[in-house]
Each structure stands twice: as C-alpha cells, then as structure tokens.
C-alpha cells in the first residue's frame, strides 16, 4: 500500500521537457492492521521520465516510468533484475471498466500553509469516492484526508507537458504490484493523480483509505483504519545524469 501514495507525489511534481530536472526527497508511511511501515522515497523527474527509488522492508527497488512510452520498469536491486510492464496492461488489470465519471474528487483549500524551501504549500482537504463491489456488497472506496499543494511555482508551471499526457481518458499510472493486488484502489489512485496533477506540486499528503457501506466489508474496513502519507523534506533543481533512467548494466531482464 505504501507504494502508491508516492506515486501521487511523483506525478504531481512532473516538470516539462527542456526544463532543469527536479529531485525530491521524502518519506512515506502506511498504517494498517495495527502495523506501520515507513521508508525513504527519492524521486527524479526529467522530461517525461520519472524515477522513484524506495526501500521496502529493507529491500531496494526502483520504478522507472516512461510516460510517453506508457511503460514502467521495476528494478529489484538485490536480485539485479528488471521487469518491464505496459501501463495499458496494468490499467486493464486495475478495472478500467469503472467509469471515470463515477469517481468523485473534492479538493478544498483550508487556508493553512507551510514552506518547503521556496515553495509555499497550501493545505487542502481531499475526498475521493468511487463505487466498488466486493462479494456482492455495494460499497464506496474512499480516500479522505489532506493534501498540501504548491501552486504558482516555477516548477509547477513547467509540468504542462506531463499534465497534458495525463488528460487522455485512457491514461493510467500505477505500480505493478498494487495494480495486481488491489485493482479498485489502483484505479482510484490513478484517477486522483490525473485530476490533481494540474492543481500544483505535491508537498505532502495524508489520507485514510476506507470502504464505506453497511455490510461486513465496510465494517471490517472501518476497523482496519488504513492510513497512508507522504511528506517531501526537500527538493532540488539540477541536471540529472542521463543513465539515471536506464536499466543499469548487468541487470537481467525478466518476464512479467
């Protein structure tokens, strides 16, 4: 679960082509089922390429997104292997049949702000709701919390190309394991990314994930109190070495 919130961040931070590259450092946390997992996140953005490095329970992974080619490559550094996924295929797995119009997203400014270096991050409440059905039980998948967005920054103005790519109705951005394990949530997250992208650069996000309804799955979901958050501690604008977005030499390509 920890994997998808940073996704929100990395897409919202996309700079346009020909712009200086952006590097973000932060931490993500997930709390669910009485457990907590936290880890470092590092995101590189250059043109339509995104690289995300993460430590997941002590293992080092990298996701290389090529938004133009609609591909994501997952690098497992301990095994020195790379797996390439087509995001269209992931979209199909993630329940693309859910109508985008049925997914509701409300974002409201609260007026509170904080500074992240030169960015002024404004707090917004975030409420995403989308229909879901589990075991014949009609539910609503909801993401409820706060998101801090930096508007009117030089970097934000330059994300136009990426945002434009995202406006395609069949756009999907997802992490392969999440798209496979939790398709409804992956679909919701992808849609949230698509809609939030034009609104600003992400400073941090903290949301509760829930299935709302009256049946047993909804009851269970409330008890589990799942919560995810991502906070960027710093960013820097600097040229990124070209090889950063390539599969490192010596890595074995494996099938999905």
């Amino acid at each position: 679960m920890r994997r998808f919130v940073p996704l929100l961040g990395l897409v919202l931070s996309c700079p346009p082509p020909s712009q200086a590259d952006l590097i973000l450092n932060g931490r993500s946390t997930v709390v669910a089922m009485g457990m907590q997992g936290a880890g470092q996140e590092k995101i590189w953005l250059s043109n339509t390429l995104i690289r995300r490095d993460m430590l997941d329970r002590g293992k080092s992974y990298t996701n290389l997104f090529d938004l133009k080619a609609r591909e994501v490559t997952v690098l497992d550094h301990s095994l020195r292997q790379a797996t390439v996924y087509a995001t269209d295929g992931l979209r199909d797995q993630a329940g693309a049949s859910v109508d985008g119009k049925a997914i509701k997203l409300e974002v409201k400014a609260t007026g509170r702000t904080h500074e992240l270096q030169k960015w002024t991050c404004a707090e917004h409440t975030l409420m995403l709701s989308m229909p879901a059905e589990i075991g014949g039980e009609k539910l609503n998948f909801e993401m409820d919390g706060t998101v801090w967005l930096a508007r009117n920054t030089r970097e934000q103005k330059e994300t136009a190309a990426i945002v434009r790519l995202m406006q395609s109705p069949d756009f999907f951005l997802g992490i392969p394991p999440l798209a496979k394990a939790s398709p409804v949530q992956a679909r919701g997250i992808s849609e949230a990314i698509r809609r939030l992208a034009p609104m600003g650069l992400l400073c941090s996000v903290d949301v509760a994930l829930n299935y709302e309804g009256t049946g047993r799955v909804a009851t269970l979901s409330r008890k589990m109190a799942s919560r995810v958050s991502l906070t960027f501690d710093d960013y820097s604008v600097q040229p990124i070495p070209k090889g950063t977005f390539d599969v490192p030499a010596g890595y074995r390509m494996v099938g999905q």
């Binding site: 679960m1 997930v30 669910a32 089922m33 009485g34 457990m35 907590q36 997992g37 936290a38 880890g39 470092q40 430590l55 329970r57 002590g58 293992k59 080092s60 550094h77 301990s78 095994l79 020195r80 879901a132 589990i134 075991g135 999440l178 394990a181 939790s182 398709p183 409804v184 949530q185 299935y211 047993r216 799955v217 009851t219 269970l220 979901s221 008890k223 589990m224 799942s226 501690d233």
Partner: protein
C-alpha cells in the same frame, strides 16, 4: 599377526616408505582445499524434532529459510545532539537508513525491520539513545554464515557505530575466535611438544619420529574427512577434532612404539629386525587395540541423531584410525631404516635417559607400596574421586550464549546492551509451523488457527502472538474471514498472507517475556506443544531457539545413555578379547566412569559455579553446555582406556611370562609408567594449549580433557589400578569356561608362540 607384520615391514622398509610417500603426496594435493568442502553449519539440530520440522515446513511450504541478525545502532561522534529522544531525531533516522540502504542491495537480505521503519517501541532503548534493526538473511547452505560475513562489509556507518549481534553473529564470532585460538594452540603445543619429546627421548632423531607420525596422520585424516564429504555434510569443527586428536594420539602412539623399539634394541644381542618384530608384536599390538578401543568409543557418537556429534565421532574415529595405521605401518618402516641411528643426535645433557633400563625403579617401589596397603589406598582414592565428582549432583545443562565469548566480542556487547537497555526486545521468538486441513484462508482453517492463537495467548509469559488471525487485535475471527476472502481489496491483507501463509501452511510467531535460554522458555514450548490440536489443523510444530534447545536436551537425555552403554559394551568386549579377563574390563570401565565423574565434577565447580573464573578469564553461565560434556565423555573415556590398555597389556605380558600377578603389576607399572606419564604429559600439553583459548567452549574442552588426563595419570593409574588388581589377585584373569572357549577362539593376542622376556 603383528609379529608377521613387523618382519614384513622390517624386510621391505623402502617399499612401505615409497607407498606411503605416493599416498601422502596424493593425499596432500587432494586435501589442499578441504576447508571449502566442509560446511560452516554446525548441525546441532535434531532431525525429526519439533523444532527441526518447524524449520523444514517453513522452508518447504513457505519458502522461509532465513536467520535473523541484530544491527545495533549506537550514536557516533558525528551525530548531532537532540533535545528529545535521539532515536526520533531526523539525523539519527537518516543515519540508520543510510546504513540499511547499503544492505538493501544485498541479495542475501530477505527483509529488514528497524525502528525508523516501524516505530516499534521494542526496537528502541528505554532512554531513547539506541535502537536496533533485525536483518533477516538467507540461511542457504551455510546457515547464513557467508551472508553475515558479506553483510558485515556493508554496514559501517559514518555517524553511527553499528554492532552486529544475535545468535548467528555470536556463532560466527565464536567460530572465528576458535579458529584463532586453535591456530595459536596448535603452533604453541607443536613447539613445546618438540622440546618435550627431545627431553623424553634424549635424542633429536627419536623425538622427530612422533612428530613425523603426527604430520602424516593429520594429512591422512584430512583426506579421509574430505572423502566423507562426498557422502555427507561435514562441519568445519571436524577439522579441529582431526588436528587436536590426530596430533595428540599420534604422538602418544609414536612414543609407545619408539620407546619399545629402543627398549628391545637395548637388550643384549638384539638386532634391528628382530627388535622391530618384537616391538610390533607388543607395543604395535597394544597401539592397535588401544586405537580400536578409542576409535570405537568415538564412533559410538554416531548413535546420536545430531549431525554435529556424528561429525565429531567420524572425525575422531578417522584421526585415531589414521594415527594407528601410521604408527603401526609407516613408523616401523622408518625405524627399520634408522635402526640404531634412532638414538642419534643425542643431546649430551640427556644422554643418561637413553640407557635407563632399571626394573626396580621408583614406579616399581611405589606400586609395591600401594599393593601393600591396597584396601586403604583403594578406599582413599575412591573417596577422593567421589568427593571430586560431588558437584555433578547440582549440574545444570544449558545452552552456550554470547557470554562464551570474551567481554570485548561485539555480539556479546550487543547482548549485554540489549539486556540492559531494551526490556521488551523479542530477539528469539518461537516460530510455529502450522499445517491446516485446507487452504489457510478457509473458515475452518482460520477457526482452528484462532483457537490455537487464543490458547497460546492464555499461557503465562506470552507477550504477543503474531499470525494470520492476530496481526490486528481489533479484528474478530469473522473480520479475518472476510479479510482473507477478499485480500485483493486490502493491500495489507495481501502482504500479511504473503508473509505468513502459503497453501495449507502458515507461520505463527510467539513473543514471550523470559530469557530465550531459560528453563521457563523451554517450559513454554512444552506447554504450547501440549495444547490440544484444534479441528481444522493437521499439525503444529514449535521452532525457535528455546524449542531447539528443548529438543536438543531431550535428544541428549534419550540418546546419551545409549551412547554410554555402547561405549562401555564396546570397551568391555575389546578389552576382554585383548586381555582374556572378565573382571578387568568391568573394573576398567567402572574406574573410568569414576574418573570421568571426578572430571565432570571439577568442570561443574569451575565453569558452572564460576570458581577460578577470574583466574581462567571467563564469565560463568550458570550451566554446562551439554555438547562439551558429550565430547569430553567420548574423548576422555577413549583416552583413559587408551592408557589402561597400555598398562594392562604390559602387566598381562609380564604375567604370562612369569605367572606372578603381584610381580607383574609392579613390573608392568615400572615398564609402562614413565612412558604413559610422558604420553599423558605430552597430550596434556596439547590439551592445555587449547585451554588457553578465549572461547569458554574450547577452554572447558581443554581443561576437561586435561583434568581427565591428570586424574587418570595420578589417582587412577598410580593408586586405583594397582590396588584393585592386587585385591582381585587371581580373579584378574578368571573367566567362566564358555568365555574361556570364546577367548581361545577369537582372542586378539598373538598366535605366534613368541616368548617375551619379563
């Protein structure tokens, strides 16, 4: 047979040397890389036990084959101070993550749990200045040892001091310390032995022969050990046994053969070939049967189910057999070639020792004195032995832990820091492998698991049970059933399933609030095993350190009596066939048992009770390591019998020639006493050198065997043996008629009617 062998070797010494040289060269080349063929895994687990089956099930069904390592993070100089708890400061967190990020690319690392990652309070110290991470390493073929060595290269921190701890780290440090200790002990004992042998023989040439024999023995033993690795896993500890026993016994055997050869050669009119034949017919035969006895008692360790003991028995048996073969085949060939030059290069100051042939020396007079007061001396010796053995009555068997290491060892420091600053650390949880009747997500399986979990949680001392139906205490069984029916909707459920279960097998972790090596922890294991098996489940196997140790102790309690019985039986039979006596073998076994109980009593007094701890430089652990006791028993019993055989065979030899038992005892002791004492002194040097090691295990082994040799050389051989033999009188050689027929048919004595002088 031995007479014949002696003549053959005497006639063709060059042929024997040539064959030996070819064999040795081939062996040396073949066994050059022997250490690579040996496994670092000690093989202490009991096959088929609950703990072993837990590990097997988790490995086979869940693909879980991991071993935890503790990384303790201590603030270094470069870390800025924090107003609140240091472990919660961004600088500390960043420094920890920097270290873990390096380990994250390590293919041996399966997963990591750290305080910055989980905020788990058990992973931080009470004062908030320290935290630790648990790194789970791939166990692989070598129990994770190689993975740990690779990890150690990666985990240095710029602003943090990173200390490695946990059971695996302790094991690796003990292993490395042992290697250093053994190397030092071998070099030191070899140097001291060289000088002592010159002193014993009075001649450099004669002194060099046992050393040559020991070198050949070790090469041959190592070759045989490597050949054994083609069929079974052999632990690296086996190589240490080979070097220790090979060196000690081959010097002993060499000493006996060379001494006897020189004695035969010194007789008027003796020629080299005849002396050699007589040497092999007497000392050669004794060495062979002594070797057979020692090897047989060591091979009895194969009865124990643990591979560790089987390896030790095999290695010990191999080295004894090699020492025996070298001493009775290659050494005689060398003696035949040297002839009277065996006494060459005599040191002027020691020349007098070359010509000692006194039959009425101090040993003779002392044994006569003992025999004159046999009953009183026997009673006195027995009282002394029983008094020495008295501490056995409160002997407690427990596992070795990091306190086996010197106080400067890193894993010991980690353990002490954890004990002092982390009251809730749970480093050695119980790991249960649970097999359900159907897939674990099925309601029936989950119900069974829930019943088991609640049963365990109700047991005293249990802190937390972690498994499929207990990861989140707020959820009910019905909630878990729903959760695992639709795991894809709840990513953490998917991860929990991936972590804890596969098919019909699942893992349950139990944290408890007692020391892992305590009897209370073992009692908890037994209580869990005693819980009724809930419907829906097929089996529950409890693993983890306390379970392993409980199984280990249970296995020792079950099998050690059989090992003792086998050793006693083997020794009785061999001594009977060699000496043609019914009572002497029984007396020998009882004497040895008494002598060993005295040794064990002294060990308990020293190592369990902690007397002499300051002098010997160790930390008492309040219990004895069962492994040490078994190894000491097998080796010391063998060594005691070894000396007993030398002494009794000499007495028997004189008795056959003179028909006077009392005279035979005194003469036998006079003839063999100095040689056996020299042998005991020499092997004592080897063992004493091992006792100087830093690891308590090796120290106890060295001191235990040294004590056994000292007790044997003094109380047993000087007092008990002559007094009992005197009191038994003619009964010494008594046998019922059926046994007499059996002895005449199968006896191991010389069939040649070779008359031997007294």
């Amino acid at each position: 047979m031995f007479l014949h062998l002696g003549r053959k070797v005497g006639n063709h010494p060059w042929l024997v040397i040539l064959i030996a040289a070819v064999l040795m060269t081939a062996s040396a080349i073949y066994s050059l890389d022997v250490m690579r063929s040996l496994t670092l895994s000690p093989g202490w687990e009991v096959p088929g036990s609950g703990s072993a089956r837990s590990a097997d099930e988790l490995r086979e069904h869940l693909g879980r084959d991991e071993t935890p390592v503790i990384l303790l993070f201590r603030p270094g100089i470069g870390l800025p101070r924090s107003s609140g708890p240091l472990v919660d400061s961004p600088a500390y967190r960043e420094a920890v993550e920097q270290v873990l990020a390096r380990a994250a690319t390590n293919p041996d690392v399966i997963r990591v749990t750290s305080y910055p990652m989980t905020q788990d309070a058990r992973l931080r110290s009470q004062d908030g200045n320290l935290s630790y991470a648990v790194v789970y390493l791939n166990r692989s073929r070598n129990e994770g040892v190689e993975a740990l060595l690779r990890l150690r290269q990666q985990i240095h921190g710029d602003r943090l001091e990173v200390l490695l701890g946990g059971e695996l780290a302790t094991y690796v440090e003990i292993r490395q310390q042992l290697e250093r200790d053994i190397w030092r002990a071998e070099v030191a004992s070899f140097v001291v032995l060289s000088f002592l042998l010159v002193w014993v023989f009075g001649s450099v040439t004669a002194a060099a022969l046992p050393l040559v024999v020991s070198a050949i023995t070790i090469v041959l033993s190592v070759t045989m050990l490597k050949l054994c690795t083609l069929f079974t896993d052999i632990s690296v500890y086996a190589a240490n046994v080979v070097s220790m026993l090979g060196l000690g016994l081959s010097i002993d055997y060499g000493l006996f053969i060379v001494s006897r050869f020189r004695e035969e050669l010194a007789k008027p009119g003796a020629d080299v070939r005849d002396s050699l034949a007589r040497t092999l017919a007497t000392a050669g035969r004794t060495v062979t049967y002594s070797g057979l006895t020692v090897a047989a008692s060591l091979f009895c360790l194969l009865i124990l189910p643990q591979r560790f003991f089987q390896n030790m028995g095999l290695a010990g048996g191999i080295s004894v057999a090699a020492a025996m073969l070298t001493s009775t085949l290659i050494l005689p060939a060398l003696l035949a070639l040297l002839g009277r030059r065996v006494n060459s290069l005599a040191l002027p100051v020691l020349r007098r020792r070359l010509h000692r042939t006194d039959d009425r020396g101090g040993w003779y007079r002392f044994s006569r004195f003992v025999m004159r007061h046999a009953a009183v001396i026997l009673a006195g010796a027995l009282i002394m032995l029983l008094a020495m053995g008295q501490p056995i009555l409160h002997m407690s068997i427990g596992p070795a832990d990091s306190r086996s290491l010197p106080a400067t060892a890193q894993s010991r420091q980690v353990q002490e820091i954890l004990d002092r600053h982390f009251p809730h650390s749970a480093l050695s949880p119980l790991v249960l492998a649970v097999h359900a009747r159907g897939p674990v997500q099925d309601p029936a399986s989950l119900a069974g698991l829930d019943e088991l979990t609640r049963g365990i949680q109700a047991l005293p001392g249990v802190q937390r049970v972690l498994g499929l139906v207990s990861v989140d205490p707020r959820l009910s069984l019905a909630d878990y059933e729903t959760l695992y029916r639709y795991p894809e909707q709840f990513p953490m459920a998917t991860e929990t399933l991936a972590t804890y279960a596969k098919g019909a097998c699942t893992q349950v972790i139990v944290n408890y609030d007692m020391l892992p090596n305590s009897p209370e922890a073992r009692e908890l294991v037994q209580r869990i095993r005693d819980l009724p098996l809930p419907p829906g489940l097929v089996s529950v196997h409890v693993g983890g350190f306390p379970a392993f140790h409980l199984d280990y102790l249970h296995s020792l309690a079950t099998w050690v009596p059989w090992v003792i019985l086998a050793i006693v039986a083997v020794i009785c039979v061999l001594l009977f066939l060699m000496l043609g006596s019914l009572l002497i073998p029984i007396k020998a076994v009882l004497t040895n048992l008494l002598s060993l109980s005295a040794t064990f009593g002294a060990l308990v007094w020293i190592f369990q009770d902690g007397h002499l701890a300051g002098l010997l430089g160790f930390t008492p652990q309040g219990s004895m390591d069962g492994t040490i006791l078994v190894l000491i028993f097998a080796a010391a019993f063998g060594l005691s019998v070894d000396y007993e055989v030398f002494l009794l065979s000499r007495i028997r030899e004189v008795c056959q020639a003179t028909g006077n038992t009392t005279q035979a005892i005194a003469l036998g002791i006079q003839k063999s006493g100095p040689i056996i004492t020299s042998a005991a002194l020499l092997i004592g040097i080897v063992l004493g050198a091992f006792a100087t090691g830093e690891v308590v295990f090796m120290k106890a082994m060295g001191i235990g065997l040294l004590l056994a040799v000292i007790v044997d050389a003094t109380l047993v051989r000087m007092l008990l043996v002559p007094s009992t033999l005197r009191l038994l009188g003619r009964l010494n050689w008594w046998m019922p008629k059926p046994l007499q027929r059996l002895y005449r048919r199968f006896h191991l004595g010389e069939r040649d009617a070779y008359r031997l002088d007294p």
